[in-house]
């Protein structure tokens, strides 16, 4: 049975292997044909931006989401402005959503996986 799984990224990159392992988990779920969505909140939004060092961070990995048929990618709108982030800099198309929408998004899932 296909499950709706929402992965919530709330931490900045550069936490050792944690961000990469989280991405692995997400991609495995997608590869096993689960209905995967991703939501970036707070400092997690930094993971949508490729830094100076391409080997660091997970932005390059998130670029692969469409290849895995992961199209439901969201970013909390309130996370953007305080961090000077704009959707134009993101490595993958992420739809800005309001807090109120986040609640509904979570309610629609079978499983929510926090990072």
């Amino acid at each position: 049975m296909q499950r709706r799984i929402l992965f919530i990224v709330s931490h900045a990159p550069r936490r050792g292997a944690l961000a990469a392992e989280f991405l692995d988990e997400l991609l495995i779920a997608a590869a096993f044909e689960q209905k995967v969505s991703v939501l970036f909140v707070g400092d997690g939004a930094y993971q949508l931006v490729a830094g100076d060092d391409p080997a660091a961070g997970t932005a390059r990995g998130y670029r692969a989401l469409p290849t895995y048929d992961v199209e439901d990618v969201f970013v909390e709108r309130a996370a953007l402005k305080p961090r000077g982030l704009t959707a134009a800099r993101f490595v993958v198309a992420a739809r800005p959503v309001a807090r109120s929408r986040v609640r509904r998004l979570i309610a629609a899932q079978h499983v929510v996986v926090p990072d």
Partner: protein, 130 residues
């Protein structure tokens, strides 16, 4: 209800394994079934047989092992996360030419696909982050 649990923190630095154990005990006491416990990220440290607890401190890994044996619950440890943190099965110790295996029974080293399987097979999946 069929429940799977993800443990993301190690006992040395996090409440994650002890909180998860309390949750699991409560769930079993209420008549639910624990389908699988999946140890990921630093949580794989629970499976490290070489860890020595100071006297008088709670050995959460031993408690998990005893609980799992009593209720026949699978303790699954992600292989990629375990290799990175030095928790090796027999096969891994041979393959990577290390001095020996150090995974504690009844923890079992598995692939990340087993986590997806747990998600598919369970009514609920509860994650205890670090």
């Amino acid at each position: 209800m069929n429940i799977s649990i993800a443990v993301h923190g190690d006992a040395a630095d996090s409440e994650s394994p002890s909180l998860a154990l309390r949750f699991a005990r409560a769930a079993v006491a209420k008549g639910h079934r624990i389908h699988r416990v999946f140890f990921y990220h630093a949580g794989v440290g629970l499976a490290n047989a070489l860890v020595v607890q100071p006297q008088g401190e709670t050995d959460v890994a031993a408690q998990w092992a005893a609980f799992a044996e009593e209720h026949d619950i699978e303790l699954a440890v992600c292989v990629a996360a375990a290799l990175r943190r030095g928790v090796l099965s027999n096969d891994d110790a041979e393959r990577y030419e290390r001095s020996g295996p150090n995974v504690r029974s009844p923890f079992r080293i598995v692939g990340l696909g087993q986590w997806v399987d747990a998600v598919v097979e369970s009514d609920r999946v509860v994650t205890f982050t670090a």
